[in-house]
């Protein structure tokens, strides 16, 4: 049986809740946006997200796992990889059947795929701590646009909230069409940004580009290394690289 949930984490947890409650023979759990109808599939069942059911599953998970593993679980969900929900489902079935002891084994077939996905998400999250670029609007709002490969927006918020407690800032994920706005330490989600797109640039942006160019050591030029550390997919929203998009990365 295929279960469909809206793209949220709560939706996924509700699907897990319903599967346990009704003893459903789950074969797949897929998010609606990634579901592709195929000829031989039976009719999928849509799950209506219910936050109280989701929080019951979440409480169950938190009771059985330590913080690192809970973070690993959530991180792997954010990877949005095809089939990651099925791995999560297998993991949760085992977790609720026999408790969290198996989770310490990185080689267990339920654990390894999640571990790898979570590592990739964590890596990108860490990268974006550095690659988010705010531009300052006239009203003093710091606004950044990002297009991450994985859905790391929500796990970036804590870092910037701690770092800029006095500022008004917003980060918008234009690939997924959602964003967050933080004012006086209060965070809220925003859907459509009423800001200008692309870098307007202020004085500091120009100074930054100048700085970027002048610290390069020409004798050590190594584009291949740079492209590995700073992949091209991120360049569009980095003012110091945005104008160099024609530069090709050597293989």
């Amino acid at each position: 049986m295929t279960l469909l949930y809206d793209d949220s984490f709560d939706g996924f947890l509700t699907a897990v809740f319903e599967a346990f409650r009704l003893h459903l023979p789950v074969s797949r759990i897929v998010s609606e946006s990634r579901y592709e109808v195929s000829l031989f599939d039976e009719e999928p069942h849509r799950i209506v997200t219910d936050s109280s059911s989701a929080s019951r599953v979440w409480t169950g998970i938190v009771q059985r796992l330590d913080n690192d593993r809970v973070a690993m679980l959530y991180g792997s969900f954010l990877s949005e990889l095809t089939g990651i929900e099925d791995h999560l489902w297998k993991y949760l079935v085992r977790l609720f059947r026999e408790g969290g002891a198996f989770a310490a084994n990185p080689l267990a077939p339920e654990v390894l795929p999640l571990l790898k996905a979570a590592e990739a998400v964590k890596r990108e999250q860490h990268r974006f701590l550095g690659f988010v670029r705010f531009q300052k609007t006239e009203e003093g709002l710091l606004f950044a646009e990002i297009e991450p490969q994985y859905d790391v927006l929500l796990i970036l918020v804590g870092h910037f909230r701690r770092r800029y407690p006095q500022k008004r800032w917003a980060i918008f994920d234009s690939k997924r069409g959602k964003g967050v706005l933080c004012e006086n330490g209060e965070v809220c989600e925003i859907q459509i940004p009423d800001f200008h797109k692309g870098y307007q640039g202020d004085d500091f942006c120009d100074l930054w580009k100048q700085y970027y160019n002048s610290v390069t050591i020409a004798e050590r030029k190594n584009l291949r290394l740079m492209c590995r550390e700073l992949p091209r997919k991120y360049w569009a929203h980095l003012p110091e690289r945005a104008e160099r998009c024609p530069v090709r990365c050597p293989k």
């Binding site: 084994n105 500091f204 700085y211 610290v215 050590r220």
Partner: protein, 425 residues
């Protein structure tokens, strides 16, 4: 004529770029009340320049009007280069403007020696003090301790900075005297020892969260490689001494880029010794994360690192008595010594083998690189011929596997020639 802030930034960042220290790690400073900025203990890279180096901090000199005349330095007195000096407020404004846009993790401020070490140190401290106490800035601040600065200024610098560094620059005192007549080893070691001792003092007893911080991210230093004739053994012995004696967090190695025409130095057309620098960093990693001692990596009989292999593989080839290693029973520290297996893989193996035997399939699934490791581990699925190879045969085989010596050295696009090393006693 007064220069604009943009002109100064261009001149003084270009003048600072040969200092290779870039890390912003080690500080957990919390955001001050009513201020902005904190320390991220893992360090964050904000961008990468076209030479592949990371930009983490706004790395600038306060002034490049230096009165010293060190042969290797682009800012030496006898060079005809544009000179500039910042105002304190300009540096503060730049730092805060860059920081709130998330361009940087903080400030790395160094300077040429303007009048004397103390008055220069004072300027650096004033910038950092203003950031910390007037603007309540909690971001990372790395200050250069000017060789020869007095303890009073080092003390004040340590109270406002996250990291201090004194650069030793030349790895032996005779070369230092020749290349930098205004400096000596005492002027480098005195501040370094002072900082190390004060840091111990502040951390002694039971520090609470109200204990004032003194250089929470520790101190570092830098050595220029290839400007004088020291061997890798000398360099690594010195570095190892810094790690154990002065508790340095990092030693940076900077492959000398010929910036000056000088008969004491390699000629200007010399290519920077990037491969040698790379090998030194690998050796440094072995000392810091892989529990190697410096004399296991190089010794008197072979004082230079082998440029064909990374130093860990070199050690394994010299020590066939440790291999093959059985991954299911060996100690963590021995697994760490297998070429091709890093800290991440070793940890996975050690935690995984408590549940099941670690076979080739598991290794592949974990993403352990077997390309080199397969010659050094015992496993029943591996052909027996692999682990009975003599080091001599293995060397040939490994060399043949890397088609050109450059292939595995993806870090650097350069040729492998050593620079002409001048004969120094």
């Amino acid at each position: 004529m007064q220069k604009t802030i943009a002109e100064k930034l261009t001149i003084l960042s270009a003048a600072a770029k040969y200092d290779v220290s870039c890390s912003s790690s080690g500080s957990r400073r919390a955001t001050p009340q009513g201020g902005m900025g904190n320390g991220a203990s893992m360090g964050i890279c904000h961008s990468f320049t076209e030479d592949g180096r990371c930009i983490s901090l706004l790395k600038i000199l306060f002034s490049n009007a230096c009165r010293y005349d060190c042969a290797y330095c682009v800012n030496r007195r006898s060079n005809d280069v544009p000179r500039a000096t910042f105002e304190v407020d300009e540096v503060v404004e730049l730092t805060l403007g860059f920081y709130e846009r998330n361009y940087i993790e903080g400030l790395f401020l160094s300077s040429g020696v303007i009048r004397d070490p103390d008055s220069t140190m004072e300027l650096l401290v004033r910038v950092a003090w203003k950031l910390r106490h007037v603007h309540r800035f909690g971001g990372y601040i790395h200050l250069k301790a000017i060789p020869g600065a007095s303890p009073e200024w080092l003390q004040r610098a340590g109270e406002v900075a996250d990291r201090l560094s004194v650069n030793i620059e030349v790895p032996s005192e005779t070369s230092l005297k020749l290349l930098a007549p205004d400096k000596n080893y005492a002027s480098v070691y005195t501040p370094m020892n002072y900082i190390a001792e004060r840091k111990l003092e502040y951390g002694a007893g039971k520090p609470s969260r109200y204990t004032p911080k003194f250089v929470p991210a520790g101190q570092t230093t830098q050595m220029i490689v290839g400007a004088s004739g020291e061997s890798d053994l000398q360099i690594l012995r010195l570095a190892s001494g810094f790690y154990s004696g002065q508790h340095l967090k990092r030693v940076y190695y900077s492959g000398y880029i010929p910036v000056n025409e000088d008969k004491r130095l390699p000629v200007v057309t010399t290519k920077p010794p990037l491969l040698r620098e790379h090998r030194l960093y690998q050796a440094d990693w072995l000392m810091r994360f892989y529990e190697f001692r410096y004399d296991e990596i190089v010794d008197e009989s072979s004082p230079h690192l082998d440029e064909r292999f990374d130093p860990k593989l070199g050690w394994a080839l010299r020590h066939p008595e440790f291999f093959p290693v059985d991954l299911n029973t060996a100690d963590y520290s021995l697994i760490l010594r297998i070429p091709g297996i890093g800290v991440r893989s070793a940890r996975l193996i050690v935690s995984g083998r408590r549940f099941s035997r670690v076979g080739l399939d598991e290794l592949k699934k974990m993403g352990v690189a077997l390309k080199r490791a397969k010659y050094f581990i015992y496993h029943r699925e591996l052909p027996i011929g692999l682990r009975t190879l003599y080091p001599e045969m293995l060397t040939m085989r490994l060399l043949a596997e890397t088609k050109t010596p450059l292939q595995q050295l993806s870090l650097f696009d350069t040729n492998l020639e050593r620079p002409a090393v001048p004969a120094l006693s």
